[in-house]
């Protein structure tokens, strides 16, 4: 305050603010307004667009074929199901089969999924119970898994588990084989591929084997398999070294945790060859299951799903219906608003001075 006196003689207009558009709050600007001219056409157009998209989606979804075979206790599986409730029997294998028929041809690419219900892959402690660094083949994390994996990080004797954590530990381990009953006596094993079922990024970036990559048993030396696994991680696909160890696609698919407690995961894709070059023909099929994965405790269901896809993805009518509904409502609202605007609203917006 007292500093005024010692400051030099004031320059005229020294403190005058700049005359810039910014400082004077006069920046050129666009004043949008919700007027009838803009809003009503917008509503009509949006409504129409939604209806059209809805119809399109609906038709697309209608073209997708899908069949779900619940094998939890279906066919001959109820025995196996009971067996799996007893943990002490977990090493005894159990096979069963479920028969079903396709009423139409599944042309094009056919995918086989396994579906689980009531399996909470999305519970926080479960989801966190993994070590992504370990799954990249990181040497250090391979031997010292993250504490997040506990209690599935190490054996009591200190041997690290690879892959560690609850997610990997609970990997789906049923084996599903599909037989096509061409006629009463002939059963043809439908050829399915067990690779090309995971995201490219997962397979090549997120999951990597530890080195030496050409000798996985050496690479995983000093680690143990997860408690619930029957074989080690480097025995997951002994035929195909590109699909073994951490980069095994069944493992990768399992490790991509589902968002909801009921989910389906890609299991195999059809190898379009021989009789199946055009997909799955209609007829009778038999699903042979090596029944390992227990779901009885938590009242879950297991199923096998066969599906074709479109650009939209799998069979799902929700989006089409949602679009149709929204479109209809928006159009109705647009009509109502137009009526209201013409009847009442037109004159209200005039400033009477």
């Amino acid at each position: 305050m007292a500093s005024k006196a010692t400051s030099p003689k004031p320059v005229p207009f020294a403190k005058r603010p700049d005359n810039s558009a910014f400082k004077q709050q006069k920046l050129p600007a666009w004043y949008p307004a919700l007027t009838a001219v803009t809003v009503l056409p917008f509503f009509f157009l949006t409504g129409l667009a939604c209806i059209l998209i809805g119809i399109w989606l609906f038709l697309t979804a209608a073209g997708i074929k899908q069949i779900t075979v619940d094998y939890t206790q279906g066919g001959t599986c109820s025995l196996c199901s009971d067996l799996r409730k007893d943990r002490s029997q977990s090493l005894n294998s159990c096979e069963c089969n479920v028969d079903f028929s396709l009423n139409e041809n599944f042309t094009g690419d056919v995918f086989m999924y396994y579906g689980l219900t009531n399996f909470h892959q999305n519970v926080r402690f479960y989801m966190d119970s993994r070590d992504d660094a370990q799954l990249t083949g990181n040497e250090n994390n391979l031997k010292n898994p993250s504490s997040l994996c506990a209690p599935f990080d190490k054996y009591k004797n200190g041997t690290p588990i690879a892959p560690c954590g609850a997610v990997a530990n609970s990997m789906f381990n049923d084996t599903l084989r599909l037989f096509y009953k061409k006629d009463k006596n002939t059963q043809i094993l439908v050829p399915f591929l067990n690779y090309g079922i995971a995201w490219y990024t997962d397979k090549h970036v997120k999951f990597q084997n530890p080195s030496p990559k050409n000798n996985l048993s050496a690479a995983f030396q000093g680690t143990g398999r997860p408690y619930y696994w029957q074989k080690t991680v480097y025995e997951l696909d002994v035929q195909n070294s590109d699909n073994n160890g951490f980069v095994n696609e069944d493992l990768i698919v399992w490790m991509r945790e589902a968002a909801f407690p009921s989910f389906k995961k890609l299991y195999r894709r059809l190898n379009c060859s021989q009789e199946f070059s055009n997909g799955l023909p209609l007829g009778n099929y038999s699903l042979l299951i090596t029944y390992n994965f227990p779901v009885g405790n938590f009242k879950g269901r297991k199923s096998m799903i066969l599906s074709t896809v479109s650009w939209l993805g799998g069979k799902n009518n929700f989006l089409g219906i949602a679009y149709l509904t929204s479109g209809a409502i928006i159009t109705a609202v647009a009509v109502t608003m137009t009526v209201i605007h013409i009847k009442i609203g037109k004159k209200a917006n005039v400033l009477e001075d």
Binding site: M1, L27, R124, D132, A166, V205, G345
Partner: protein, 1191 residues
């Protein structure tokens, strides 16, 4: 100050200081003259600043969350989700604090490094202020600031007098006299004597009482008592005194100035309070959600989770469902805490800061004459400027310039002062109008301007009545002249009116130059004429006139009188009837223009009659009983049969644009109360000239009772009068019906306009507890309230009364120290800057140079700030509800396990990066209507007063909207993807893809929403809105990229998700549908609202858009001329008895010095006012500052 010194200050009971003896004084460890207003230094900045910041509830809360997150069982989000925003917030605040402190350091340094001359080792040495110590002797020169609190020792003026200006201290611009002790003033400027001076002062410890000091000087075995009259306080400026010496008594932080720099209490806006309430509600809401989810978790754990142990075998601790629920509660508190994000508080601060800068930058509130821009001194109150309902204004210096200008006169039936063009039309005086050239008169006042040339011509041709007219003005007054140099004449007038009249006479060639108790010397057209002053018949409120009786050099005796027209007209000689009529017409005309008028008359008196009369006067003046009556009877006797000369019209110059501003603020439904220390007549006059009082008003209630009973009766009468008339109009129904709704507020029912004028002493009664309600009711029913003769404390009481009962937002505006209390009490205090006194500005929240800028400050800046802040809060709460509540819905699907929907990085960045800038841009730049329309349509201000734009109802709406959006955001992707796969058969329903889908939808929905909420799309808005979406995608792809995953695989597990999901058409279809479903209802509702029930804002916007196609029309509010009845006012504010003081010569201190030689040095005349003030004993104004007294 070291802590030791500080302790010492507390315990100091008596101060001992010995002149020229540093060693002795150092024993007491008094503070040196270094001042420190800064809070931190480089080393203490971090700890102190952090400590201060964590004292804020919000920051502490987030710290608490951070700690919660470190507990692994609870941590549902990584630590960085909280620490990143928290650090950002702390940094921003710290940077702001650091900058503030840097400037404080700078100004401290500047002050500390000022130089002053200190007597050290027998020599005068230049020393920095900070090195000045208690006991030092300092030499001050004219116009220098006083460095510390000094005891005046000697000065260049006789008797050790010196003059100081105390504007910085108390806002009073008049000079004050200080006088040194006679013994010390003899030291003079003799350095050796001063160096030997070894007096010891024992005095009171440092305190903040500006007007009190007590101490004793011990010197040469003598004791001299010291009082405030001998002290020069830091902050004063030495004036009219060549030099003076002083001894430092208090230095630096212990000076009275610094002791007075108390921290102003922190003001908060109503939006702030509302925001705090809402945040509290949100916490309750948060806890409710937490409890619901925790209960859900317990049930889930019990029913489902327990069956799941083989797969999800977590810690033993969590086996207990209740414990698990408890921990989940805290986990959800962490996840859901984003409903009250940290960035809310920071954003609000940033927006307010921006608004403050817009105020500082506004060229239309820059006053070029004084080079003063408007200044937002606090940055936390801006939006409250848009909610003002009551303005409390000071009068002098705020509404008026406190400059009286002689603007018109009527002499012998002819008016002067108006300008006419060739066609006989009146011309408005503007800057360009050529003023009358007074160069013939060397003694004329250079600042005096008059535009009518005919008056000067009349003087030059020597028209006798005109001469007599100005002679009267030069003689009949109680002004004191002061002439420092030849021709440099200054008048010390008790009231500015008198000063204006004498100055006018001076410029027209009748220069009042000197006075003694018996004579008055006037230079008439360059010739010195000395009149013998025979008597002053002084003014008082009852007489409303004053007269002088003089004998001119020719020996003629004349009585000159000036006074209120009605009074004077009664005492005229019958021969004046015709002239009286014309003059009377002129007076009406003047009054109609809001001028203050006085009638002038003279009378020739013969010697014998006078001799008799003087004898009687002498007799009366020494009598003890009935002295007053006797005197006034005598005055009455001689002031008869006078001859009318004419009338003067003085303009009490209003500040520029005051009536227009007031008219505009009135349109905005803002009530303006004038609180002034001035007299009732003056206040009313100004009330009329600034249009707050008009003749159209039904009734004007003047409350001037002295006792509570009188005041109560007067108030009752006023109330009955108002209610009575409204009953007639409303057939008696309106009132009784409405009264049920509100117990006291029934001003709506009052038809007609009323004004209330209340005097200070009545106000004192009215503010008593039993009367304050009725006073408030009546005051609020009136359109205008004027309180006159109020003390600063009463001003604050009135403001407090409104604050207390009306729940209205108040603004106080003033310029002087007497307004400080009111400025501090009101919600918003505005100081008029560019004046000499600084106290009001220092206490204020906003300072503007002119009253008229208030219009722009409120109607444009305030309205915009409020509008922007409301829109900002509305959007911000909406956005965070939409963002956070998705977790709530997800809870039902993930076993209530506090699993987040989003990527942790998204949670971290959403508020801080992805959505902060567009909403900030809206909060900073948005304009619903442009500034011209804001000013033109003052009614647009009303939503702010009624709190319409953001209140609990609006908050509820935005909550519902947020909940709806979160619902849609969650369930549409859920429906679409819960059971779906990609176009190539691969999975898409995994948690990560789901997270990306929802996050992207959310960002797009809130971006569209901010687009809808933004009314004013500048380039910045475009940049921020599009930029934010772009930044979202860039960061998304970056965080999901291979490179960063390779480096930190554990921190960025979302690798590839963006690519894999956003490449899907179905994902985009979902995002599109979600956006449409979220936004369309909002658009529809808004459209219907605007279409069916448009607010004024909508209409003005509509019109603005229609008009934008044409050129914008500049509207000017034409000054409304008031047609008004004649109200003459003798507005001299002075008290009885001044004439007596002049004639007795008591006020002329040091008469021996008084030089009668024209042009000689006249000294000490400044102090006569001081003497008068001391003599005056006004029981009602005991605590009033002198500034008011001579308004």
């Amino acid at each position: 100050m070291t802590p030791f010194q500080r302790d010492h200050t507390h315990s100091e009971e008596e101060r001992h200081a010995k002149a020229n003896d540093r060693e002795y004084n150092e024993r007491f460890c008094y503070a040196d003259n270094r001042i420190k207003t800064s809070k931190y230094n480089i080393f203490t900045f971090l700890p102190i600043n952090l400590f201060e910041q964590f004292q804020r509830v919000a920051n502490a809360y987030f710290l608490f969350l951070l700690i919660l997150q470190l507990i692994p069982e609870i941590s549902s989000l990584s630590w960085f989700t909280t620490i990143v925003p928290l650090v950002l917030v702390l940094t921003i605040t710290a940077v702001k604090d650091a900058t503030d402190d840097y400037f404080r350091h700078k100004s401290d340094n500047q002050v500390n490094n000022r130089h002053s001359q200190v007597l050290i080792d027998g020599k005068l040495q230049n020393e920095k202020w900070m090195n000045v110590r208690v006991g030092d002797i300092i030499k001050l020169e004219n116009n220098q600031f006083v460095a510390a609190d000094l005891l005046l020792l000697s000065s260049s003026e006789p008797y050790g007098l010196c003059y100081v200006e105390t504007a910085e201290l108390d806002g009073e611009t008049n000079l004050k006299v200080r006088q040194a002790l006679t013994v010390t003033s003899e030291l003079g400027a003799d350095i050796s004597c001063l160096a030997e001076f070894n007096g010891e002062v024992i005095c009171e410890p440092p305190n903040n009482k500006l007007d009190r000091f007590s101490g004793t000087l011990f010197w040469k075995d003598n004791k001299y008592s010291l009082d405030n009259e001998k002290m020069l306080l830091r902050g004063c400026v030495l004036r009219n005194t060549e030099w003076c010496f002083g001894m430092v008594i208090f230095a630096g932080p212990q000076t009275k100035l610094m002791q007075n720099c108390g921290r102003t209490k922190f003001k908060r806006t109503s939006i702030d309070r509302l925001m705090n309430t809402l945040v509290l509600w949100i916490f309750v809401f948060l806890i409710c959600m937490g409890i619901i989810l925790a209960i859900g978790n317990s049930i889930w754990e019990y029913k489902v989770g327990s069956n799941f142990r083989i797969y999800l075998s977590w810690n033993e601790v969590l086996d207990d469902p209740v414990l698990s629920g408890f921990l989940t509660f805290w986990s959800y508190i962490i996840i859901l805490n984003t409903v009250v994000p940290i960035s809310l508080y920071v954003s609000v601060e940033v927006i307010r800061l921006g608004h403050s800068h817009f105020i500082n930058w506004d060229r239309r509130m820059y006053y070029a004459k004084k080079d003063t821009p408007a200044e937002a001194r606090t940055t936390t109150l801006n939006e409250e400027l848009g909610q003002i309902e009551y303005i409390f204004s000071d009068k002098t210096g705020t509404l008026t310039q406190n400059i009286m200008v002689f603007s018109k006169c009527s002499i012998n039936g002819k008016t002067y002062g108006d300008m006419y063009d060739e066609l006989g039309r009146k011309i408005e005086v503007s800057e360009k109008t050529p003023a009358v050239d007074f160069s013939f008169n060397l003694l004329s006042d250079k600042k005096f301007k008059f535009y009518d040339h005919s008056l000067l011509e009349a003087i030059k041709i020597g028209e006798p009545t005109v001469h007599e007219f100005f002679r009267l003005l030069a003689l009949c007054h109680t002004v004191m002249p002061e002439e420092k140099n030849e021709g440099d004449l200054h008048y010390q007038a008790q009231s500015p009116d008198e000063g204006a009249l004498v100055t006018a006479a001076r410029s027209f060639g009748f220069v009042f130059r000197a006075r003694t108790p018996e004579t008055i010397t006037v230079y008439e057209m360059g010739e010195p004429v000395t009149y013998q002053l025979l008597a002053i018949l002084d003014f008082n409120n009852f007489r409303k006139r004053m007269s002088v009786i003089v004998r001119n050099p020719k020996g003629q005796i004349k009585l000159y009188s000036k006074g209120a027209d009605v009074i004077l007209f009664d005492r005229l000689h019958p021969s004046n009837d015709d002239l009286m009529e014309t003059t009377s017409d002129h007076l009406s005309e003047f009054a109609g223009e809001g001028l203050r008028t006085l009638a002038l008359a003279y009378k020739d008196i013969d010697e014998d009659y006078l001799a008799q009369w003087l004898k009687k006067l002498h007799f009366a003046s020494i009598s003890f009983d009935n002295r007053e009556e006797c005197l006034s009877a005598l005055y009455e006797e001689i002031e008869q049969n006078m001859m009318l000369l004419g009338a003067t019209a003085i303009e009490d110059k209003l500040q520029e644009g005051v009536p227009e501003t007031i008219a505009c603020l009135n349109l905005a439904n803002i009530k303006i109360w004038v609180l002034t220390g001035d007299k009732q007549e003056t206040a009313m006059n100004i009330g009329y000239s600034c249009n707050i009082l008009t003749d159209d008003m039904n009734e004007l209630f003047i409350i001037s009772g002295h006792t509570a009973l009188e005041v109560q009766q007067e108030l009752r009468k006023a109330k009955e009068c108002m209610l009575g008339s409204s009953r007639d109009i409303g057939n008696g129904h309106t009132f009784s019906e409405k009264k049920k709704n509100s117990d006291s507020v029934f001003e709506e029912t009052i038809s007609g306009e009323y004004a209330l004028i209340i005097n200070g002493h009545s106000l004192a009664q009215a503010l008593e507890t039993d009367l304050e309600r009725i006073f408030l009711d009546i005051a609020c029913m009136c359109k205008t309230v004027i309180c006159c003769r109020v003390t600063p404390l009463q001003k604050a009481h009135v403001v407090e009364l409104i604050r207390k009962y009306k729940k209205a937002v108040t603004l106080a505006i003033g310029d002087g120290a007497n307004d400080v209390s009111m400025i501090k009490t009101a919600h918003i205090g505005v100081g008029i800057s560019g004046q000499e006194g600084m106290q009001a500005v220092l206490a204020s929240d906003y300072s503007i140079a002119q009253f008229r800028y208030l219009q722009r400050l409120l109607l444009v800046h305030g309205r915009w700030s409020y509008f922007r802040m409301c829109n900002f809060l509305h959007y911000f709460f909406y956005k965070n509800f939409a963002f956070t509540l998705v977790h709530f819905w997800y809870g039902f699907f993930c076993g209530f396990s506090a699993q987040t929907v989003y990527d942790q990085w998204f949670v971290t960045l959403f508020n801080v990066v992805y959505t902060s800038l567009p909403v900030l841009a809206m909060g900073l730049f948005d304009q619903d209507v442009n500034e011209q329309n804001s000013m033109e349509h003052a009614k647009l201000y009303e939503p702010g007063q009624l709190n319409l734009l953001f209140n609990k109802h609006k908050f509820f709406i935005c909550t519902v909207q947020g909940i709806y959006t979160s619902f849609v955001l969650f369930f549409i992707p859920y429906g679409a993807f819960a059971d779906s796969v990609r176009g190539d058969g691969l999975h898409i329903m995994d948690q990560q893809s789901f997270a990306v889908t929802i996050a992207t939808s959310l960002v797009i929905v809130v971006s569209v929403q901010i687009g809808l909420d933004t009314n004013y799309w500048t380039a910045v808005n475009h940049f921020f809105i599009w930029g934010s979406v772009a930044v979202y995608f860039s960061i998304l792809f970056f965080l999901h990229s291979d490179g960063i995953f390779d480096i930190f695989p554990s921190q960025f597990p979302f690798v590839g998700t963006a690519r894999n999901s956003l490449s899907q058409k179905s994902v985009w279809l979902v995002i599109l549908l979600t956006t449409a479903v979220c936004v369309m209802p909002v658009v529809a509702l808004r459209f219907l609202r605007i279409d069916l029930n448009p607010t004024l804002t909508d209409k003005v916007r509509h019109m603005q858009q229609a008009r934008r196609k044409h050129r914008p029309l500049e509207h000017n509010l034409k000054r409304v001329r008031r047609t008004s009845s004649r109200r003459s006012a003798y507005a001299f504010a002075h008290q009885e008895g001044y004439g007596e003081l002049i004639t007795s010569g008591k006020n002329m201190k040091g008469t021996s010095h008084f030089s009668m030689t024209p042009g000689g040095r006249i000294q000490n005349s400044t102090s006569w006012i001081e003497n008068l003030l001391k003599k005056r004993t006004d029981p009602t104004g005991a605590d009033r500052t002198p500034k008011q007294q001579h308004q």
